[in-house]
Amino acid sequence: VTLLAGIVAVTAARADPAQDLVAFRQYFQQRFPALVLADYNLGASALDPATRKQLGEMEEFPPYEFALEHGQALYATPFANGHRYAGCFEHGGVGIRQQYPYFDPASGAVVTLELDINRCRERNGEAPLDYLHGDLPEISAYLASTARGQRLDVRIPDDPRALAAYEAGKQYYYSRRGQLDLACASCHVHNAGRTLRGVTVSAGLGQATHWPAHRLEWGELAPLQRRFMACNEQTGTQPLAAQSEEYRDLEYFLTYMSNGLEVAAPSVRP
């Protein structure tokens, strides 16, 4: 119990998230002076011209096109009670992706777009969908597509619980874990742009702008948290459950670090 208390406690002087964002951007701008901020939307391909060309060509006839149409059709389909998804979201769900995830003062927790989609279903008497595969990522991708070009605007309200969630996500991002003793930041901050087993490692800046993504490796649209799980596995860490509090906090921190960049989802990734 003492150990857990020690681990959970964030003991350091807490930085201001806005200061963190400035430092995070400056770090990458100093490291990759040839890139402009918008380039970071491209993920690893911003740092690898060959992949950039290849993925750019794929976006002309993107492999997620049919899945996106399916997501749109699902979103428009009424529930058994006659209500629709659009009734659950501000502006009918159009152009809202840039505000996710957000801190919900009522529940005292971070809410992702995927969580809100399932909450909407449950409020309307429907069973929740699988977070990682199939319909839900497709619906999420459709909603994200309606916000393309909007700048990410994740907010951390003046609520100690929101700041604690942000700090927990930040701690997760920078903590080494697993058999390989690697933090998210070990690859995506300190070794971004380097090659790892033939793959260029993406920068943490811009990492949250383009999800759900169709990863060629997976052959389907998938949400950011599936990538968290895959990263955990690659470092020899037991992944957490999708939409666990830890992953939602991580998504909160990571998306906040991309504030000001445009929503570029859905996307294609290697």
Partner: protein, 110 residues
Amino acid sequence: VSRARRLLRSWACAAWLASAAAAAAPPADAVAAREYARVEAAATAALTQAGAAGFAWLHTRELLAQAHAEADAGRYQQALELATTARTQAELALVQARAEATAWQARVPR
């Protein structure tokens, strides 16, 4: 003759003592089974703590499951080896969790 009898008597006595000792000692499997139970309990406890902290390693649970399967099949030596590896992993994950409670801060760009 009496010397031969004495020798025979002491040999018989030694043989009896040896067989009695062998009968009293638990079989090797029983020792391994007890040791396995002890190590498995320690591994499970450490893994639970590591998991609660978000630091469990990827294969520890699987190693424990394999250990359980070996123990169920009566192969306690193999079960013990697997549980020992699982315990080592889980304890290392806890060491990592303790270290990272503060170490992560040094990695944040300032």
